[in-house]
Structure formats: C-alpha cells, structure tokens
C-alpha cells in the first residue's frame, strides 16, 4: 500500500527535474542556433528570406543566452518560461520550414534534437502535448504545401507519414527514459529513507 507521507526528497526532485532537463534544452538550442547560422550563410537563400532567417536566429540566441545565464546563476527554473522558450523553438523551426518550401524543405530534421530536448525536460503530459502539436503542425504544413504545389502524390504522403512517425518515436523514447530515470531515482531515495525512531522500551515496561 502506498504511504501518503511524502518520500524524502520528493519535493526536491520536483524542483530539480525542470532544471536538469533545461540544461539539455539549452544545449540543443545552442546547436540549433550555431548550425542554423552556418547553414544560412553557406549557400545563402535570396536576401529577402535570409534577412528573416538571420533575424529570428539571433533573437533565439539572445533568449537562450538569458536562459543559460539563469541556469549558471542557479536561479530556479520557471516552468512557464521553459514552456514558452520551447514553443518558440518549435515556432522558429516551423517558420523556417515554411519560408523554405514547406514539404520540400530539409529543415524538418531540426525538429529531432528540439523534440528530444523537450521530451526529457518536461513531464509526460506537456511533453506529449508539445510533441503532438509539432507532429500535427508539420503534417498539416507538409500536406498543404505539397497540395498547393500539385505534388501531393502517394509517395509524398508515405514520406510525410514516415517523418511524422519518427518524430513521434523520438518524443516517446525520450519521455519514456525520463520516466524510467525518475522511478529509479525515487527507488534510490526510498532506500535512503531513515528508519523511524525506535519506541522506548522503558515506557512499555
């Protein structure tokens, strides 16, 4: 039977979980920013598109610097800020995909590290909500842009389906690991629980 008394360190774990996961999100974002800048400047797109791309990447860099600084100063992670930042990543990747052709754009692969990071940073419900939103958004965007280009064939649909399945796989695997590790830590903490103070034998006599 489960004890109602909170286990030692349970509240501490709940406080630390977002911080530990956010480290991964922040590093994933730095990878996205650095790679994005290099790739944008290597064989750049037309100037109108390039301006927007660089502007948004630099905006993301400033936001990530702020979040990284919060982590270095060991300030508590604010959940709402973490959610907003991850939503910002997804929005930026989606915007870049839209600007570079939708279904034909190869930039969808940046969803993979972004989804990996948020699947290990957030609890199951928000992780699946984000993952589900990305999958629906990307599927809709791909289907719409390929239909608009009169390129919505069986082969196109198959590829979109495969991409969507693999994005879902990354979210599922990442969050499953998050849950496994949470349970293992909890089990380790339970083993460290101090024994209750012994009943005095003098009073019994």
């Amino acid at each position: 039977m489960k004890s109602k008394k909170p286990m030692m360190g349970e509240s501490t774990q709940a406080e630390q979980d977002p911080a530990h996961g956010q480290v991964v999100v922040i590093f994933a974002r730095w990878i996205l920013i650095a790679t994005g800048l290099v790739l944008m400047l290597w064989l750049p797109s037309p100037i109108e598109q390039l301006r927007f791309q660089i502007f948004f990447i630099l905006l993301l860099a400033m936001a990530n610097f702020y979040l990284h600084a919060q982590l270095l100063l060991k300030r508590p992670a604010v959940q709402a800020v973490a959610y907003l930042a991850s939503a910002g990543d997804i929005a930026l990747i989606t915007l870049l995909i839209l600007l570079s052709g939708g279904y034909t754009s190869d930039l969808y692969i940046f969803y993979f590290p972004a989804l990996l990071a948020l699947s290990v940073a957030f609890a199951t419900r928000p992780a699946f909500a984000f993952g589900g939103a990305v999958i629906c958004l990307y599927a809709a965007l791909s289907l719409f842009t390929s239909a608009a280009a009169r390129d919505l064939t069986e082969a196109t649909t198959q590829i979109i389906l495969a991409r969507v399945l693999m994005l879902g796989a990354v979210v599922f695997a990442g969050n499953l690991y998050w849950r496994i590790e949470r349970d293992r830590r909890q089990a380790a903490l339970e083993l460290q629980e101090p024994l209750p103070a012994p009943v005095s034998t003098a009073s019994a006599e």
Binding site: I31, A162, L165, M166, A169, Y177, L191, Q192
Partner: protein, 200 residues
C-alpha cells in the same frame, strides 16, 4: 546504508532498466517499415521480400520485449548486437529501398530514434563509437549510391546538415544519460541510515 555501485554494476543496471527505450524505438521503426513495405510494393515478390525482413526484425524485438516483461532482460551483448543490426538494416534501406536512394532517400530518418535509444542505454564511450559508426555508414552509403553529390555544394551542405542533427541527437542523448547517472549517484549517497546510526 549508502548504496555503493561499481561502474560495471551501474552499466549493467542502465542496460537492465533502459533497454525498453531501445525496444520501443525499434517498434516505431518496425511500424514505419511495415506501412512503407505494404504501401510501396508493386508486386508480390517485393511484398514478400520486404515483409520477410520486417517479420524477422519483429521476431527479434518481440523476443527482447518478452524477456523484459518477464523480468529477464537481455544482457549487454544481445542489446548491442540488436543495435548494430538496426544500423546495418537502416543503412541498407537508405542504399537500396525505392526509387530514391543514397542522399535522395528520405528514410535516413529511421536513424534518429534508434540512435537516441542507444544513447540512453549505453555508456558515453560506446555511444560515441556507435554515433561515429552511424555517421560514417550514412556518409559512405550516400557517396557510393549518389556519387554525383561529391561535385555539388548543395548536396554536400544537405549531407552536413543531416550529419549535424544526427550527431546532436547522439550527443544530447548521452549528455542526458550522464546527467541522470550523476543524479542517481547523488540520490544514493544522501544521508539516511548513516544519520540515524549517528543519532543512536
């Protein structure tokens, strides 16, 4: 009493608990494989051949999943062997499946969940070796099957972009694995029994 674990014990525990992540990543890969095999085949021979491969993979994964469920999970060698098989299979798919192969193949995305699952289960050194092997295998199959890419800066850029995101997946996965191991160590070394013993 403080829990003391040797590195070998910790590795064994990671494989014991974490292999289910690899197993589920493989189920997603199998599901995508079945759908594509049945949907893209244009003759009974094609369906037969591709379904045979998928069924063999399913049997292997079912065996591993079954062992996990009855609490007799597979050991490191078995899990490692299965992961290497995944790598070979996906590379073969990229190189041979369908009309678009090599760099043109869109099925390189199968690498992502498999690489992530590996990074969550195995120590950093093995994950680094596996990631490098995966990147090398993918680059090789692209260059061999699509030799025209070598002279095209656009194709090289595309390849580099894919390699970076694959490497990022492996790197972030193993980084998070390390964070979790340190957290578990910290949890195991919290004062508990020792505090009580000191008070008594």
């Amino acid at each position: 009493m403080q829990q003391v674990r040797t590195p070998a014990q910790q590795n064994a525990e990671d494989i014991f608990f974490g292999q289910i992540v690899l197993i589920w990543a493989r189920w997603f890969f199998i599901l995508a494989g079945i759908i594509l095999a049945l949907w893209t085949a244009t003759s009974t021979n094609e369906i037969t051949l591709s379904v045979l491969f998928v069924v063999a993979l399913m049997a292997m994964n079912f065996f591993l999943h079954g062992r996990y469920l009855i609490e007799k999970p597979a050991n490191q060698k078995m899990i490692l062997g299965a992961a290497i098989l995944d790598l070979i299979l996906i590379t073969a798919i990229v190189g041979t499946w369908g009309n678009d192969t090599g760099l043109r193949s869109q099925l390189f995305i199968f690498y992502y969940p498999v690489l992530l699952g590996f990074a969550f289960v195995f120590p950093r050194r093995l994950t680094t070796i596996y990631t490098i092997a995966l990147l090398a295998a993918y680059t090789l199959v692209c260059m061999v099957v699509t030799p025209s890419m070598i002279g095209s800066m656009g194709d090289i850029k595309l390849l580099v972009m894919r390699l970076i995101t694959l490497a990022a997946t492996g790197g972030l996965g193993t980084y998070y694995w390390r964070i979790q191991r340190e957290r578990r160590r910290a949890a195991m070394s919290r004062p508990g029994m020792n505090e009580y013993a000191a008070r008594a």
